[in-house]
């Protein structure tokens, strides 16, 4: 069975999404167990797959039994094995944590919501596993459509901001498709490895350059890289908590994976870093992204929206790291995909716990929160430390690699941007923590014994346990960073990059 893991990974969620949507018409209570089982199988097989990759090296799975350039094949190597494991585990944990809040926020539409949730995870896993450039586009659209539907179920201006997300997302996906078309017309192939084999004779061609730029811009739109980020904060802020805590950690990170895959496998680092002289401007753009993300986050008085601007800044970290063009930078970017997925999940789960118990998550609503929800706030502190980058949480190590990469490449502006953003994050999070811990809410507040109405009102255990697992994961990943880098990421980066 183990050689069928790549298929199981996406087929089981797909089939169960269909079963969920049909079962929703019969008995709504069936949906959640099916979804948990499906994502459990996906998580199990992705971890099994990662272990197999560590043992045997890259795995090729031929779908339909056709050999790669003819048919579609999955290539699972160290890079996407790692990302697959992260995606499936994050989705699984978030599903368990979100059961209560889905029931609270979605009312009688839980069944289609679970189906869309599982479809979204299917799409993300497929994007990461596939080795075919066009197949990636189709999966991108599944992810996008299910994401729009889930985010638009929120309150306030959720529909309007989702419609804007849809316009931008479609432009991004179409640009990517166009880029693949340009590649197809000059190479005649759609398979990533096959394209990479044909391209070296065409490096001088303007069509290949055009294809590269269009693909890159398309992926940037999808990941909300700085000048193209305008859709992200509103769309993520107004969505239901379960949807934003799935989409915020995963979608942008998976798009960064796609960008790294395009650089490493399709166009090859030789073309991206040496033949084109565009790494410097892109790193500068990443610096601006980090600065702007940090400054815009400072201006926010709403916890969830502040976190979305931090995502914009983190995207800048990873794009910049990947484009530094050296081994340390690339290591930092890949490690940060893992870390940022976990950190963002932790922070958004905290937000969804708060939203479950309180009316809102504007800063004014958070006063004295630590007495009400001490465990949730404990996890929030861990997430904050990790986003700031304090050892031994994992955020420190990826930032370390990124900074050492910046020094190696002589890109001191990027180093400054990283340090600046860490400082701003300190301000941001300590402001929130200060409000939660010390803000006086009545005359005798701030002395440790509030009025009886401020009794503990912690979120239910099903929401707390996954949150603790994630918070513990932040520390554990930090402690085992050395192993992750030496055993996985080291093999994910081709030897050409030094």
């Amino acid at each position: 069975m183990s050689q069928q893991y790549p298929a199981l990974l996406v087929i089981v969620p797909l089939l169960s999404a269909l079963v969920i949507s049909a079962a929703g018409w019969i008995n709504r209570r069936l949906c959640f167990p099916i979804a948990v089982a499906a994502l459990g199988v996906a998580a199990y097989s992705s971890i099994g797959l990662l272990l197999r990759v560590l043992d045997e090296g890259a795995i090729v799975y031929r779908l339909g039994g056709w050999d790669p350039p003819m048919g579609i094949a999955y290539y699972v190597d160290h890079l996407n094995g790692l990302v697959l494991a992260v995606v499936s585990v994050v989705a699984f944990l978030n599903l368990i944590a979100s059961k209560k809040s889905i029931e609270l926020e979605l009312g009688d539409k839980t069944a289609p919501f679970y189906a869309l949730y599982v479809l979204q995870v299917t799409g993300l896993l497929g994007i990461v596993a596939t080795g075919d450039a066009f197949n990636l586009y189709v999966l991108l659209e599944i992810t996008a459509l299910s994401g729009y539907a889930m985010l638009a179920m929120g309150k306030d201006r959720a529909q309007l901001s989702t419609l804007n997300y849809l316009y931008m997302g479609t432009i991004g996906a179409c640009f990517y498709l166009l880029g693949v078309g340009y590649l197809y017309i000059v190479t005649g192939s759609l398979n990533m490895v096959d394209i990479a084999n044909i391209l070296p004779s065409l490096y001088e061609s303007k069509a290949v350059l055009g294809a590269f730029i269009i693909c890159l811009v398309g992926v940037w739109v999808k990941m909300a890289f700085f000048p193209l980020h305008a859709w992200l904060p509103n769309a993520y802020t107004h969505g239901p908590s379960a949807a934003s805590s799935l989409i915020a950690p995963l979608v942008t990170k998976v798009m960064i994976y796609v960008m790294i895959r395009l650089i490493l496998t399709v166009f090859t680092p030789e073309f991206a870093f040496n033949i084109l002289a565009i790494s410097k401007p892109i790193v500068w753009l990443a610096c601006i992204a980090i600065f702007m993300g940090a400054i815009l986050a400072l201006a926010e008085r709403n916890l969830k929206k502040m976190l979305t601007y931090i995502i914009v800044a983190e995207v800048g970290y990873m794009v910049g790291g990947a484009w530094l063009g050296n081994r340390a930078g690339m290591t930092g970017a890949i490690l940060h995909i893992v870390n940022d997925a976990l950190m963002t999940l932790c922070a958004f789960l905290v937000v969804s716990n708060i939203a479950y118990k309180l009316k809102g998550y504007a800063f004014d609503d958070l006063k004295g929160l630590v007495r009400k929800m001490p465990f949730t706030m404990g996890a929030f502190v861990v997430a904050a430390l990790s986003i700031i980058g304090v050892p031994p949480t994992c955020g420190f190590f990826s930032k370390w690699y990124l900074i050492s990469g910046a020094i190696q490449a002589g890109q001191y502006a990027f180093m400054v941007a990283l340090l600046f953003s860490s400082l701003v994050n300190v301000v941001l999070f300590f402001r929130v923590i200060e409000i939660c811990y010390y803000e006086p809410f009545s005359d005798d507040g701030g002395h440790g014994h509030g009025p009886p109405s401020e009794a503990m009102a912690e979120a239910p255990l099903t929401m707390l346990v996954p949150l603790f697992i994630v918070a513990a994961g932040l520390v554990l990943v930090g402690i085992y960073t050395g192993d992750i880098v030496n055993k996985i990421i080291e093999f994910a980066i081709p030897p050409g990059i030094v």
Binding site: F134, Y148, A149, Y167
Partner: protein, 134 residues
């Protein structure tokens, strides 16, 4: 002059597709009406499909359905030459893209209807003004 005509004749299909794509992109960025943007989005997507179909065209070839496929004599007796048939791969890809386009259209229209029900207008600036008032 002769060279220019050569270039135009050889590439005009691509130029028209780029024109259409620019029309669609312009409408998506500039138009204020949400449904107009959706029209632009579809023009944009269709233009890309036109581009792909153009890549598959082949001079002197026929449609990609094998002529002697019917009946018992067909199989194996005729040798099929690749130059006689148009490249089928872009067609396959574009079937997928058309269906994706209509799926996106459905979701976009559903969202536009929800927005209209809430704000009673489809003009983006009027909606934003209404949000600011609250």
């Amino acid at each position: 002059m002769g060279d220019l005509i050569q270039i135009v004749v050889a590439k005009y299909n691509y130029w028209i597709y780029i024109t259409l794509m620019m029309i669609g992109l312009y409408a998506m960025i500039v138009k204020n009406n949400l449904v107009k943007k959706i029209v632009g989005m579809n023009i944009f997507q269709t233009a890309i499909i036109l581009f792909y179909v153009s890549t598959g065209a082949k001079r002197g070839a026929t449609i990609p359905i094998l002529e002697h496929g019917h009946g018992e004599h067909g199989v194996g007796t005729h040798v099929v030459h690749a130059v006689d048939y148009i490249n089928p791969l872009p067609h396959v890809l574009m079937l997928t893209a058309i269906v994706v386009a209509v799926a996106t259209l459905g979701v976009a229209l559903a969202l536009a209807i929800r927005v209209y029900n809430r704000y009673d207008t489809l003009e983006e600036d009027e909606i934003l003004a209404k949000i600011r008032e609250k």
